[in-house]
Symmetry: C2
Subunit: 242 residues, 2 copies
Amino acid sequence: MAYELYYWDGIEGRGEFVRLALEQASADYVDVARTAAGTQKMMEYLQGRHGPLKTPFAPPFLRDGETVVSHVANILNYLGPKLKLVPDDEALRTLAHGLQLTIADFVGEVHDTHHPISTADYFEDQREEAKRRTASFLKHRVPKFIGYFNRLIAENPARSGHILDNELSYVDLSLFQVAEGLAYAFPRAMANFDSDYPEVAALREKVRALPAITAYLKSDRHLPFNENGIFRHYPELDQNAG
Amino acid sequence: MAYELYYWDGIEGRGEFVRLALEQASADYVDVARTAAGTQKMMEYLQGRHGPLKTPFAPPFLRDGETVVSHVANILNYLGPKLKLVPDDEALRTLAHGLQLTIADFVGEVHDTHHPISTADYFEDQREEAKRRTASFLKHRVPKFIGYFNRLIAENPARSGHILDNELSYVDLSLFQVAEGLAYAFPRAMANFDSDYPEVAALREKVRALPAITAYLKSDRHLPFNENGIFRHYPELDQNAG
């Protein structure tokens, strides 16, 4: 039976990290909210209509038969072994999951660059605060997070260009999406990305060149970035590279 | 060999969610940063001195022999079966992990009530923004998150007062800490907590009464809340219950 991915229609958002794994593995899946009446089906889960064991707090969530898995990192930890997108070794799987949770924290901070005060209000209602938050994010947080990932790839004993061992993992796919998102949201601030973070930049191109990913990115299953997702391009938040 | 918990000395913070599980299970553990030269030992991991497979992005992390596990939810997912603090059933373990990740998201939002603009700046430098963020948090986010957990406990088919099945889990212990933290940080806003969220309130008292937890809370291993942790009491952020 096909995996069912439930995520808001119309945006890449957090769902994209799951899509990339499913696509790379050529897994059989349905992006439910993009099918007829799919958003309604998703809302029924969120409203608790399928009982407390199948009531995620928020999308994305994945249904695999009778199992409903919530949160990107939990979904990827669940799918990783099935899709052969994580090493078999349990210690490396635990490490991969920790890396994915670090990405999740980073993604949360990306979201808060445009919504530092309240998710219940529009960006335009918190624009000045967003400018200050973004300035701090670009100065402190991007170097800390992306520098961390760059270092781990550089120091991978396998020197494979992947972050873990010799193999492509779901963490690599997620780092591709992070690099893509930063380039979209902050093109000026990321002008030196390739020289500042050469390992992440090389991994990004390596992922982009994977045949299944290349095909996916050209397909209509793939959505472009836009200003409803996590990575948003607001020119007034971007700034010259430091 | 004893588990080694690495977390900043002097605060409950995110480490407390791990401590509660270790204490409830009467596990043999060392709170490393609170031992002589312990913070230095922790920094050596963060600086990468133990190699890329043992370089967490941030505390807390747990060392179990040769395995280093980062992020609260990953640590609890790892410890849960070993400490008998999660059901054996794999689907329930995946569910428990998703619930813990929802708690992690909530804890991140609690942190941002007092640091909405930049973690690199003091609270006093973002006090006005913190007031606005906190107002939105108390109005929208607390009801959404705590109401969600309250509902799941109420609808647990086992009607055990626990969030999962018939048994105490690490998720219950974490919900205790969340309820304690909210009461400390926002005593006025939480005045109606027990009537608004009766299931979570009852669970909180159930956890507090566990002999191992009662003993822990009285011990000098347990730190009080303070204004360096996640849950901080700044009177100007608190407000009357709605």
